[in-house]
């Protein structure tokens, strides 16, 4: 299981814009590098990141090899209601990771 960090404020006021920080451990092998025998190292990257808020998609990112190793994504969302944010990363070679965080909206 890949290591991932998500940062979501535990509490927020209704309507407040909260900033979500996500970081996941992944080499993001570009597919353009060669190993020491001169062979091309096959691409192995995260292709897609999706964030849902109580089941509704609020943010999505399509990643390419130009995204650095250990992809960092920081994005805003409006705190509409108390509930769960789910973060899902999927990629090459069947890579998949899911994290979730709760936010309490008053």
């Amino acid at each position: 299981m890949a290591r991932a960090i998500v940062q979501v404020p535990a509490q927020a006021k209704r309507g407040e814009i909260i900033e979500i920080k996500t970081l996941i451990g992944h080499t993001m092998e570009t597919g353009f590098r060669h190993n020491d025998r001169g062979e091309l190292i096959p691409r192995d990257i995260i292709r897609l990141f999706v964030c849902t808020y109580n089941g509704v998609e609020v943010f999505r990112a399509e990643l390419h090899p130009a995204v650095s190793a250990n992809p960092l994504l920081i994005f805003p969302t409006v705190a509409t209601e108390s509930g769960t944010l789910e973060f899902r990363w999927t990629g090459d070679n069947g890579f998949s990771a899911v994290r979730s965080a709760k936010v309490e909206v008053s």
Binding site: F59, A61, E62, P65, L73
Partner: protein
């Protein structure tokens, strides 16, 4: 008889030729990627702010902040933001999809920049218009293609 110096020069040249193949996307590839996004619509300058350091020491992790001047309401919001790098092996770097639920159009990430070039960000708004910003960067340690 071949001298040691001549041999090394020849071997080095061959190695460079072998390694140098996919180093850059062509301008045509960038134009095609942009056209695939816009469908030929006009891309205007403005409203988008691409924030990357102009001088990059290490191209492997370049902090980038993209923000778009938008009220992010149901009627007027940013649909997506796309980053392009004509000097990378692949022209498309990242695409993010937002909506009125974002509240503010501002994202932060880290990118690989292969060479000194002009990076650009294109945002698609809910009315279907496209806006862009571009930044010229100078890179001292390249990313993507180096083998270590």
């Amino acid at each position: 008889m071949i001298s040691r110096r001549a041999f090394l020069a020849a071997a080095g040249g061959a190695a460079l030729a072998a390694a140098g193949a996919p180093a850059r996307a062509t301008q045509a590839a960038v134009d095609e990627a942009v056209r695939a996004l816009t469908g030929g619509a006009e891309v205007r300058k403005g409203r988008v702010k691409l924030d990357v350091p102009p001088l990059i020491d290490n191209g492997n992790a370049v902090a980038a902040v993209v923000s778009v001047d938008s009220p992010m309401t149901e009627a007027d919001h940013v649909r997506s933001i796309h980053l392009f790098a004509p000097g990378n092996p692949l022209p498309v770097m990242l695409g993010v999809f937002l909506g009125p639920r974002a509240g503010r159009a501002r994202i932060t990430t880290r990118l690989r920049v292969a060479d000194s070039q002009t990076l650009s960000a294109i945002a698609q708004l809910s009315d279907g218009s496209f806006w862009s910003d571009s930044v010229s960067v100078v890179v001292t340690i390249a990313a993507c293609t180096e083998d270590r």
